[in-house]
């Protein structure tokens, strides 16, 4: 399941940051992607919610310190 999430996230990230080469990994943070700032972050979250048909809580967004956290939260949501 985790591999599926990562593959799907790759598509979302490539779309949001307009970069076909981008590949997500668990330790990745906003510092690793040039265009990842407060504004694109909002777009990224909205796109992930849309692509996975889930809705994050603010507390979950705050807890998300890297892509690994995001994968874990998405997985939890899909399992429930």
């Amino acid at each position: 399941m985790e591999t599926n999430i990562i593959e799907k996230l790759n598509i979302t990230f490539r779309k949001v940051f307009k970069d076909p080469q981008i590949k997500v990994y668990p330790e990745m943070t906003a510092n690793d992607v040039e265009k990842w700032d407060s504004i694109t972050h909002v777009v990224l979250i909205a796109e992930i919610e849309k692509d996975f048909n889930i809705k994050f809580k603010l507390k979950e967004l705050i807890a998300m310190k890297n892509v690994g956290d995001c994968i874990r939260i998405v997985k939890e949501k899909l399992e429930n």
Partner: protein, 499 residues
């Protein structure tokens, strides 16, 4: 103001003055850092050097102590953001004529800058402790407290000097607004230190012995802001309205009962989002404050009231209220004739908080400032470029910008400055930067270029070398023919509609 801070350093020495990146710093520690900076400035400042001192802005105690250290030494500070392009910082350093720069961290670009002007660079993180000295300097009210640079239409940043009189006038007027705040309060500081709203966020709490909570570096801003507001029980928060747009999808999860004052400034505040924010901050007074950098931080305030929210808004924008103490505002037409209530015109400001004029820019000063007899006294007024009118209660209503200046993330941006750099790079003349709103309602810039066949990435990289990140267009579009209006000017409305 310094007297108040001096008093806080003595009376509340064991209270926390700052919470930065998870660490608390007491007033005693802060006073020690200020004294150290003060001591090193006194050792290094030559009699003939500039009265302005540069401070490279990092989110740490040394940077805040440097700002206060400069003020306590009797000089003025020029904040320099290390994240900004080197060209911009070079222009700021050259224009302000500073000879000393204080920095807590190794800012590699400083070495390049040292080639253009001989700078004395002092590392404030490595100064030895000296005797605590927060005595008040003997200095005139006309001396500059700080010099900030805003976006200029010629492509060169414009300096706005704020005198000690201006700053003191703001502090007095701020406390005269009757906020019930004391040494137990907790203030949010979310602003870049080159943005004057930061000054309210750290100077006013320091005046009363309260604690300043800063946003951790390198994190997504709106989630960090919310974490601080909730986890640290912040009681006073000045924010830009765009933070509300980010938080809006989560309003139903947000409850901040400890927040006493929720202030907004820097951009138009919309009534619909404010009404939705209100239940999130059930015990807070929501206040919309207004003012350009030229009139020191802010100078009009409006207490939002849900019962009359619709009446007190125009085109959905919340009222900006009335001038603070010792400030005067009028609405004029293009011939500088004062207009009466209900008539729309340009907002002009005068009073204790008004800058003595742009830094070394007599031409711009001539265009922007004028003398006007107001209530029997001849005063200097500043043309803000904001379109406003006065309602039946004498409150000011904001309608938008008269020219092409826009606000992005609270920063004032002259679209013409972006266009200027694009023209230089592309050597094409038909260029238009358009401000529009993105999916979540925030302002973004779309750039249109006629007959552009060059490389967009190269242009984009060039702009990044010249402009701060908030001025970089979100999208660059090639257009075969630029639409023109009857006057032969670029039809910006048509471009906007095409989006």
């Amino acid at each position: 103001m310094l007297k108040k801070i001096q008093n806080a350093c003595h009376k509340y020495k064991d209270n926390n003055a700052f919470f930065i990146n998870g660490t608390y710093y007491t007033y005693l520690t802060f006073a020690q850092h200020i004294s150290n900076v003060r001591h090193i400035i006194e050792q290094n400042h030559q009699a003939d050097s500039s009265k302005l001192i540069g401070v490279i802005t990092y989110n740490d105690i040394h940077t805040y102590a440097s700002i206060l250290g400069v003020l306590f030494s009797g000089y003025g500070f020029v904040p320099i953001n290390p994240e900004n392009p080197i060209d911009r910082n070079e222009s700021i350093i050259t224009q302000s004529g500073i000879g000393i720069i204080l920095t807590s961290t190794n800012y590699p670009d400083l070495n390049k800058l040292n080639n253009i002007a001989p700078l004395k660079i002092i590392n404030t993180a490595q100064i030895e402790d000296s005797k605590i000295d927060v005595n008040i300097p003997d200095i005139g009210e006309d001396e500059i407290a700080y010099l900030l640079f805003t976006s200029g239409s010629t492509g060169i940043p414009k300096g706005v000097p704020i005198s000690r009189r201006n700053l003191h006038s703001f502090i007095d007027a701020f406390f005269a607004l009757g906020y019930k705040v004391d040494e137990t309060d907790k203030f949010l500081q979310m602003f870049d230190l080159t943005f004057d709203l930061s000054l309210m966020s750290y100077l006013t709490p320091l005046c009363i012995g309260a604690c300043v909570y800063t946003i951790p570096s390198g994190e997504i801003k709106y989630t960090s802001i919310y974490s601080l507001l909730e986890d640290q029980n912040i009681t006073v928060a000045l924010m830009v309205p765009s933070i509300l747009s980010y938080l809006r999808p989560y309003f139903e999860d947000i409850r901040l009962p400890n927040l006493k004052y929720s202030l907004f400034c820097g951009e138009a505040l919309f009534n619909d989002i404010t009404s939705e924010w209100f239940p999130c901050v059930p015990n807070a007074l929501i206040q919309n404050v207004y003012g350009p950098t030229e009139a020191t931080i802010f100078c009009l305030t409006y207490d939002w009231n849900k019962d009359i929210a619709t009446e007190k808004s125009f085109n959905g924008i919340v009222c900006i209220g009335k001038p603070m103490n010792n400030m005067y505002s009028i609405i004029v037409d293009e011939h500088l004739k004062e207009l009466s209530a209900g008539e729309k015109g340009e907002m002009c400001l005068s009073g204790g908080q008004l800058t003595p004029g742009y830094w070394s820019n007599p031409e711009k000063n001539k265009k922007t400032f004028f003398k006007y007899n107001f209530n029997g006294v001849e005063r200097t007024f500043y043309k803000t470029g904001d379109l406003c009118f006065i309602d039946q209660d004498g409150d000011f209503m904001f309608c938008g910008r008269i020219d092409h200046q826009v606000k992005i993330q609270g920063f004032r941006v002259e679209l013409s400055e972006i266009e200027h750099h694009v023209r230089v790079f592309t050597e094409l003349s038909q260029v238009a930067a358009i401000a529009t709103t993105d999916v979540i309602g925030n302002t973004q810039i779309i750039l249109f270029i006629e007959k552009f066949t060059g490389n967009i990435d190269k242009l984009s990289n060039y702009l990044k070398e010249k402009l701060p990140s908030y001025m970089i267009p979100a999208e660059i579009k090639h257009i075969a023919v630029m639409p023109l209006n009857a006057n032969g000017k670029i039809d910006r409305n048509a471009l906007k509609k095409s989006l």
